[in-house]
């Protein structure tokens, strides 16, 4: 048990350091420690399952240790900003005011092809319209365009921007969601009446029924099962 625990701590630390050195492009939307845990847990869980000669306790101790390490690390990172920078790095500007920062590109082991591919993915083909391209700590590339190339917003157009009413799901597959009904300011009698008006016997005949606070209803009847 102690050996498993110590080995898990060592592997976690080494993997964390190695992946940190590999650079952000390896991550892909997961934080570094989350990625390390995901990589390890999948394997740890499968070993005692495949080999019944290994006590389940060995797998459980290792998984529990990883879980604790991840929680401790995320807690420490929240408290100590410098630790966060040391472990996860900081966002890097790969493009600034249309100019590629070649040093940062090289430092993050990002090739020019990968950069242009990422930009194309965000419908950007002309580097001159990129104000900033920021490589975030989780490996995603955020692109901010120069003002003249940004899409026009409703505010800029002077269009009155009303609030978007939230449609509450009141019936889901024949089941009344009473909590949503309360939030929407309606009651069950009203709902049953609405169903009846739409030719249904009751909520059990409804597949989906949504309603906004202003009263806009979406309705879909339940189809007969084949």
């Amino acid at each position: 048990m102690a050996i498993v625990l110590l080995r898990t701590i060592i592997i976690f630390t080494v993997l964390l350091l190695c992946m940190r050195l590999m650079g952000k492009r390896q991550l892909g939307e997961l934080e570094l420690s989350e990625l390390v845990v995901s990589v390890l847990v999948a394997d740890l869980a499968s070993l005692p399952l495949q080999d019944i000669g290994i006590p389940l306790m060995n797998g459980l101790v290792a998984i529990l240790t990883l879980f604790c390490l991840e929680l401790i690390l995320s807690g420490l990172v929240l408290r100590f900003g410098r630790l966060r920078t040391a472990l996860f790095g900081k966002p890097c500007f790969l493009v600034e005011k249309g100019v590629i920062n070649q040093r940062e590109l090289h430092k993050n082991r990002f090739t020019l092809d990968e950069l242009t591919e990422e930009l194309r993915r965000q419908s950007v083909t002309d580097l001159r319209i990129v104000e900033y391209a920021v490589l975030e700590t989780d490996g995603t590339l955020n692109v901010i365009l120069i003002p003249s190339a940004r899409p026009v917003t409703a505010g800029q157009m002077g269009v009155a921007d009303e609030e978007t009413p939230w449609p509450y799901v009141l019936i889901s597959d024949g089941r009344i969601l009473t909590e949503n009904l309360r939030k929407c300011g309606r009651d069950e009698a009203w709902l049953r009446e609405e169903c009846r008006l739409r030719g249904m016997r009751g909520p059990e005949d409804v597949f989906l029924f949504t309603c906004t606070a202003s009263g806009t209803v979406y309705f879909a009847a339940r189809e007969e099962k084949p």
Partner: protein
């Protein structure tokens, strides 16, 4: 930070538990070894029935810890030790005192392996 503190406490708890496990395993294997050694001494004196009786007690101790051994020790090690017990019993049953000597060695070796398996050493960790 609260979650991190709970996780830290849990990790510390596991660490304490694992060291308690080492001590428990030490005591358990020491008792087993003492029983087997005593049985060997009887066998060397030619008291085979006495050797069988003492070994039976050691075997009883081993069997009573079945729940523990199967949860914490690799099953291959547990099976090897159980096989060594059976082998030794059959050697003693056949009144073959000299043949039992090798079986005693094998059983003691397996018990030692189980004991050392949990010892925190550089070799074991790496």
């Amino acid at each position: 930070m609260k979650k991190a503190a709970v996780a830290g406490a849990l990790l510390l708890g596991m660490l304490v538990l694992s060291f308690w496990n080492i001590r428990y395993l030490d005591r358990f294997t020491d008792e087993l070894t003492a029983g087997v050694e005593l049985s060997r001494a009887r066998c060397r004196e030619g008291d085979l029935s006495g050797a069988r009786r003492v070994l039976g007690e050691a075997k009883e101790l081993w069997s009573s810890a079945r729940g523990y051994t199967h949860i914490f020790i690799r099953h291959a090690e547990v099976d090897a030790a159980a096989d060594a017990f059976c082998e030794l019993f059959s050697a003693l049953e056949s009144e073959n005192g000299e043949g039992a000597e090798g079986a005693y060695e094998r059983l003691l070796y397996h018990i030692r392996c189980i004991d050392e398996m949990e010892h925190v050493t550089w070799e074991a960790v790496f």
